[in-house]
């Protein structure tokens, strides 16, 4: 069985390796999140907002020209059509309702590319809560439009100036801010990472993705289970959401596309399972890229959303037990798949999602296999990167 145990572990990965100063906050969440999430009140508000505000269910779209090209029946789960342009908002809606129920007044968050930051700033505006987003100084320069979106939404964007000045450091800063404001503040983590119960909580909010895939596929194909589900993995929240209801259905192959960067052996990669080893990052035991001395190594990916040195503990477990197949998609190949989808289906994908698309070229499947690809986000935010790459 794939799932979290009482101690917050998925197999040998997970746990809550946090400074004692965070213990009360994390304990408060752990004690309350399941009961709150299970309450009819919470469910009504959560489901209501997902429907009317986010625009769920998102379509499960049969991509006929893409299918023809690859010789399989390919469906795209259109998370790119969510309000704010990516799946991230499923989680921020859930967490902000939870934060309100816990009586919190302020929200903090980390962001890499800015998608989670925008999704957090959005729900804070919706709920009238104060919002501070930590973002690497380098990412602030790379993702100007998202920075301004957050500011328009009323959030304060604080640059993380330490270390590599990217997502990892923004996460460190957000954790520090939480240590400094433990009582009235909730930290909305954007992926299935961090100390227990975050990985499981975020996965459950995102699990609406596979919940919908099941009934949508049943409608279209007369069966709930595709042969393959493909998703990209940085921290792994969209993949966790797309895999969640299939974890324990072994006939459904789960494919995780990591960012190969300039190549797994180039030293410029974010292919965590290929280059990583077990260790502790941001409060959980997982697989991460590190030196022999246990110092965290800077990742590289053309996609800011996949530019993270670890993966969520659930993915480390899926990898370790062989439940999911991991492939490393290089920058150049992801970009080509982004253009390919644009030309074949009229959908410009986020570069993160383009990694999942390219996986079609790296795995074996049968001619009549049904494949669901989680199209986690739209490509508007990546226009600069597409333009700079220029090969279209």
């Amino acid at each position: 069985m794939i799932g979290v145990d009482e101690r917050g572990y998925y197999g040998s990965f997970g746990g809550a390796f946090i400074p004692e100063m965070l213990h009360p906050n994390v304990e408060e969440l752990k004690e309350n999140y399941e009961a709150i999430m299970a309450s009819p009140e919470f469910q009504a508000e959560f489901r209501g907002l997902l429907k009317d505000y986010v625009g769920r269910p998102t379509p499960l779209y049969f991509a006929s020209r893409l299918s023809e090209k690859y010789g399989a029946k390919i469906y795209l789960k259109r998370e790119d059509l969510c309000h704010t342009g990516a799946h991230k908002v499923n989680n921020t809606i859930g967490q902000i309702i939870l934060a309100k129920k816990l009586g919190k007044k302020r929200i903090i968050a980390e962001t890499g590319a800015g998608q989670h930051g925008v999704a957090t700033a959005t729900v804070c505006a919706l709920m009238g809560m104060e919002c501070t987003v930590y973002m690497g100084e380098l990412d602030i320069q790379r993702q100007r439009p998202n920075v301004e979106r957050m500011r328009i939404l009323g959030a304060q964007v604080v640059p993380a100036t330490s270390g590599s000045k990217t997502l990892k450091d923004a996460t460190n800063e957000a954790m520090r801010a939480w240590i400094n404001n433990p009582v009235d503040t909730h930290y909305i983590i954007g992926s299935v990472v961090g100390p227990h119960p975050y990985p499981e909580m975020v996965a459950r909010f995102q699990s609406v993705i596979s919940e919908e895939i099941k009934w949508q596929l049943k409608e279209k194909e007369g069966r709930e289970n595709p042969d393959l589900v493909i998703a990209c993995v940085g921290g792994g929240s969209n993949a966790a959401g797309a895999f969640f209801h299939y974890y324990n259905t072994p006939e459904v192959r789960l494919i995780a596309a990591e960012a190969g960067g300039l190549g797994v052996e180039s030293g410029k990669t974010a292919a965590t399972t290929a280059k990583g080893t077990p260790g502790i990052l941001h409060g959980s035991k997982t697989i991460l890229m590190q030196t022999e001395d246990g110092q965290v190594v800077e990742p590289h990916s053309i996609s800011a959303g996949l530019d993270y040195p670890g993966i969520g503990p659930v993915h480390a477990h899926l990898f370790e037990v062989g439940r999911a197949e991991f492939v490393a998609v290089e920058d150049e190949d992801a970009m080509k798949s982004g253009i390919e989808l644009s030309r074949l289906e009229g959908i410009i994908p986020a570069i993160e999602s383009a990694h999942a698309l390219y996986a079609l070229n790296m795995i074996e499947f049968k001619k009549d296999d049904i494949i669901v690809i989680n199209l986690s986000g739209r490509g508007d935010k990546d226009l600069e990167t597409y333009i700079k790459w220029g090969n279209y």
Binding site: A16, I18, P19, E20, N172, R176, P182, D293, Q295
Partner: protein, 257 residues
């Protein structure tokens, strides 16, 4: 007997623990700084093992970690430097480090080395108490290493009692809910917290850390506990020092007098 126990058996008041990052400001400064701390009159030496992502520390200590790593500090290097330091330094020595570099070195090998070179205790801020009890307590004890836990103003009385029951060195009281170096001075709210914990009559001595920088804050903290820990303020002294030996001794004297 462990040097930490010996210390607290004989000294109950105004115990001063000084933190510095190994390999900062220069790679080979580790043992000379320890000697200067002892000569200056402090009671405990806390050596920080540098880490790329020290989330419980503020910018001053984080910067020192980064510089130390750039200087080439590593676990192997640190233990190399510590071989034979007991001929020169007699104070209790505590290593403070994050779990990941220690896990990569190997917890067993790490504890063994600590004992070999003469380390007395450990502070591992991201090692949760339950994990310690389940996985490491027996190991630490077999090498005579005292493990220190942190508590903060948010730590419940029940948990403070649990922590007190599971350690026999000292308890590290985070003075405000803050990362190292974030606040200066001591507020009334903090005093209330110091008093609340003092009245719990814990079996372990208590040292107050975070926000202690000079004679005044050291004295205030010592009025409510057995002493205090200075980290960020000391790192700033090292950073601006032209003569480590003199400046370290001078600073420590200015704090205790």
């Amino acid at each position: 007997m462990n040097r930490i126990h010996t210390l607290f058996n004989t000294k109950k008041e105004r115990v001063l623990s000084i933190y510095f990052t190994a390999g900062f400001p220069n790679l080979e400064d580790t043992v000379p700084i320890m000697e200067a701390i002892e000569a200056g009159g402090a009671d405990i030496i806390e050596i920080g093992v540098p880490y790329s992502d020290p989330v419980a520390d503020g910018p001053t200590i984080q910067d020192s970690n980064q510089i130390a790593l750039q200087n080439g500090m590593s676990m192997n290097k640190l233990f190399e430097q510590l071989v034979g330091f007991r001929a020169k330094v007699h104070l209790p020595v505590v290593l403070m480090g994050y779990l990941n570099p220690i896990m990569q070195y190997g917890m067993d090998a790490f504890c063994k080395k600590c004992k070999e070179v003469g380390v007395d205790g450990l502070i591992l801020p991201d090692l949760p108490m339950q994990e310690y009890l389940d996985e490491y307590k027996a190991l630490f004890e077999s090498y005579g290493l005292v493990n220190t836990f942190l508590i903060s103003p948010q730590t419940s009385e029940k948990r403070i009692r649990e922590i007190d029951g599971n350690t026999d060195g000292f308890i590290y009281m985070v003075s405000s809910h803050s990362i190292t170096g974030a606040k200066s001075g001591i507020s009334e709210e903090q005093i209330n917290y110091f008093e609340r914990v003092r009245e719990m009559n814990l079996k372990n001595p208590r040292l107050i850390g975070f926000g202690i920088s000079n004679s005044e804050t050291f004295t205030t903290a010592s009025n409510y506990s057995n002493g205090a820990i200075i980290g960020s303020a000391f790192i700033k002294v090292l950073k601006n020092s032209k003569n480590l030996k003199e400046d370290v001794q001078g600073y420590i004297r200015s704090v205790i007098n």
